[in-house]
Symmetry: D2
Subunit: 355 residues, 4 copies
């Protein structure tokens, strides 16, 4: 395939304009149309003195021959029907997170894309930031050693929403990042969720998610709509080094610390509680802040969408990745309903079918 | 009682030297002796050209007539026997946190102090910092409104210990602060704990504690020995305002934000999920950083110990406060052993007997 | 005048694209054309699927009837000829800072605009940021009291340039802000500049500017192209309160401190050096961070340009403001050439003719 | 010499207690006495249950046989007479900064110490902090390359004083650090000072000091008593790397940036202004934060005092270092009195006699 691919954006609400802007300025793409049931919103996204089409009917849009791919930025409950229709119409599909609002529907989407041989990609935007790409690289290269813990905090004054709780609104970001950086993807041995609704909003506005990982490690996610300050911080602790990602730091987003605790195993004689303290040693080494390029994540994301189409391969954040994130979200809802009990993330689903 | 009170410090390990220094420089106290089974450690605490006595026998120390009070800074498992002996010898007692390593023993200590009419105080040091005193005052004055959530993070590269896990080592700080600032003290409706031991140290090195509070609120504590960076931050979210305490900020420890989310209740007509989003409003007001005096907490703590003895009253952080903290610690151990299930904090104990 | 005003941007280099984007999305403006001698650069600014004209000839652009105003974002030495031609063609003119590279030419521009009754505005962008607007308001309302000192730091790894030194490149920002916030505008009693060229670049890469102000106050500007970290900070010290503006802080850009030093004058008896220390008192009050709206400065700037045209009035940052900034820049060059001696900012120019 | 050296501290005001505490806890020293004309102040420094002597007469103190060295922490104008008397009495002398309030007297002190073969050390405390020791090491090892600029900021709400201006109060810290870290010590080619007294305090409360260095480099010092926030930051820019020292950062005091601007010189053809821009290149590499030990500077300082006495050598911050700092202070006063003109730092003094 040569020349630019032709894209349309469906949904001109909160996120659609960002997608439209990036398709528009990408050398890989020609933005052909923006579609929204609210015509005025779509007009505002297209802007003045533009020949990009404005449409109100998804049906008509999908019938066009001059559109290779659609990006779906509509409410989560509409993802599956629109995506399935688009795949059936032969379009490649990029869909906002979460991939769907139901695991069964998401599995249908993944299956349909495979059947029609079209790309199904999930817009896990953070996976295309220079910081997350660097974190993935550092972990893959062994710079951190074995992962001991991941602590992720994503809190700010957020829009309390009518139809999703804070877990479904914010945690997909953290979970998609975990899925992207952990070797083998996100595969917790269980999910435990604690939430609170102090406002009486009808759903959790404050949430804590514990995800035990194989080998005694743990991931934990704190999401909160009620915090007056915005914090986006992730600590990834490893056996060799530990990394802190402060996404809002203007000067130093990523810091790798050569500090940690080691349990020596040499002597082999001591037993019982005394063993531990005797064999502990500390490293208090230097810190290191890798330089990160200044690149907009959405630009890299639409480039990856184009490349996966051109090369006939799965994109980095494919439907299966979206499914792993969705499974954990659904498990967190089950745990929440059961007093925070640790539940299986993938009940009755063999993991290989997820990947 | 006129003149200075006469104190002795028992235990010259990690914390004892700090207590000794503060008794020494306090106008309320005369430091008479420092006692440790390791004579050299005690000598180092006393320092050169000093006439403060060095002792190795607690028994001999408690037999002295010229000692009004003892401060116990020994391992937690020895707190109860030493404190009970000291109370029996007629001494007032200050004991390090946690008050004991067992709830039954701690109850004995509280009961004995009442019987012999001596002060039993727990060194919840943070409760005497200017920041925590201010937070307590702001909450008591209604500046924050109803408390919606408290999120506390206390992480750093800590000493992995042989006999206590990270909950018992670090969480007493957070719990004692919660007990001090929450109206009515720390009375969670349940306790859920998640821990991880990625090092294979034999106990949790990373811990998360969820404490649902009456009225839909929640407190959460994150303690961690494996973090290369030190964070001590507490966010207290209220219905009117929200407070952030960053204990390590050199410039601005306490910030009160006039920001938040309100659920309007005026219309009364809407029902179901739509209600929520329709009635949400946001305040994005100014922030305010109250000036805090520069005072060492331990100085204020030993002053309160003296004042409570002189005035024959309970100190601010008395044995009952220590007991409430201990009960939550014991509950967290039970939850941890049961896969993080939400457990009662005070099983079989009527709350009024705790207070 | 009704409907949108019609604008063209001249210069598609570093800053032109930002201007074009803001004219394009402003409800006040219709962006008609982008003009650059390098046609490809202009094409890139206009983007795909657009009907905005691309032009290469300023001459042809100025001859068009359907252009009400031009924004000039070309190198400083070309500002005057283009602006004068545009004014002669009846266009309103917005020009990048500095208004010109020569005071005489700038005076001609101001005079010509008055003759032809067209608006001449200088793009002092920072004066339209929410932070600077708030600072101006606080000073005007007397919240800071009399201004005692202003310390401005603007350092980062900057583009070492062939034709301007660091003073001419960066200090116009600081000087335009000073002109905007100080009651009566920027009117230093002298200018002293110290610079350094440690690279041997042929001009100063590090610069310090001292501007004594009437009444014993001082403003100071530190500009630096060689700093690996980016700092944009201004401290405005007043007799009542002091303000710190940290433009890169993600959380708290503006803080007003109710702290300071007061010289009491009550006793009236003491004389000589002893007087001072005896009568000094300190305020250590609270800090306060006013909420700032999230608005893009350039959007507010193009709105002000439109409003000044419609209302037939001088814009907030008019040619005279640009001239006051330019006069200080020229004085700093004279001081630099004379070993940092304090020189007059407005030699031979009565101040009233500047305003 | 074996065993501990015997010290006395003269002056129990602001700084004396810190010196006394460090002599007391140092294994090298035995603190014999504290001397102050105000007996109560000295008693408070010694504290209760202590056998350290309290004295009010310097004369009697200097007559004692059991004192090897004195530390002088009295007002600057008394440094010279006390130090000269102490040297004449055969004592080694440590003196607070500035070494004296007059260059001639300081030269006498240096000369007398040489004559009587006793150590004269200046308490340039910052030179013994782990951060400054590391900076000196990095520069000496060539890690930064040639030094291009040093920018030092030391501002806070300070005690406006009756007898010294802000330069004499705060700049000795910056100048002593510059003297310690710059290869060859502090030897500016000139000194230019700008000050302001907006309070009418009778002397500068805000000060800026420019110190051109050989080779086109510059050092600049900003000292300020009127700032509500405390900043202690030094940027050391080099041809290879640049270092930022933020002394108040709780997490990362020292950062070394592998970023900078290079002027290529290879082609050799271009001339004139075009040359510069064409040959500029940028490095945007990683940052690195060396681990620093947690050590109290004063402890290291009194250890160096002892070591220099025992080894019969000049201490790291000897009288000559104090003299170089004093010469720049005196030059800054001359520049200030002359409208900020660049003046010689060492008029009529051959530099070799200073070193």
């Amino acid at each position: 395939m040569t020349g630019q691919l032709r894209a349309a954006v469906i949904g001109a609400g909160y996120w659609g304009p960002n997608l439209a802007r990036n398709f528009r300025t990408s050398p890989d793409w020609d933005l052909v149309a923006v579609c929204d049931v609210d015509r005025d919103r779509a007009v505002r996204v297209v802007g003045p003195r533009s020949t990009v089409d404005v449409m109100v009917s998804t049906h008509e849009l999908l019938a066009r021959d001059d559109v290779d791919a659609v990006a779906i930025a509509t409410p989560a409950r509409t993802h599956a029907p629109i995506a399935l229709a688009a795949l059936d119409a032969g379009k490649h599909v990029l869909v906002e997170k979460p991939v769907a609002d139901d695991g069964g529907l998401a599995r249908s989407m993944v299956a349909r894309a495979a059947e029609v041989d079209r790309v199904l990609m999930v817009d896990h935007t953070f996976c295309y930031t220079p910081a997350v790409l660097k974190i993935r690289e550092l972990i893959a290269d062994g710079a951190l050693g074995d992962i001991h813990f991941v602590d992720s905090v994503r809190i700010n004054l957020g829009l309390v929403q009518a139809d999703v709780d804070v877990f479904w609104d914010l945690a997909p970001h953290d979970l998609s990042i975990l899925d992207f950086i952990l070797p083998g993807g996100l595969r917790p041995t269980g999910v435990a969720a604690q939430g609170a609704d102090p406002l009486g909003a009808g759903q959790s506005c404050v949430g804590y998610l514990s995800l035990p990982l194989p080998g005694g490690a743990i991931a934990h996610v704190h999401v909160n709509w009620l915090s007056p300050t915005k914090i986006r911080q992730m600590v990834v602790g490893g056996s060799k080094r530990t990394l802190v990602w402060d996404d809002l730091s203007p000067q130093q987003r990523l810091t790798v610390y050569d500090r940690g605790v080691d349990l020596g195993g040499a002597t082999g004689l001591a037993t019982g509680p005394e063993k531990t303290a005797a064999n502990v040693s500390y490293r208090l080494g230097d810190a290191w802040a890798p330089a990160l390029p200044e690149k907009e994540a959405l630009g890299a994301m639409v480039a990856e969408f184009a490349a996966s189409i051109r090369e006939g391969r799965a994109p980095r954040t494919d439907g299966a990745a979206g499914l792993r994130v969705l499974d954990v979200l659904e498990a967190s809802s089950r745990s929440l309903a059961d007093g925070g009990r640790l539940v299986d993330a993938y009940p009755g689903v063999a993991l290989e079918t997820v990947a």
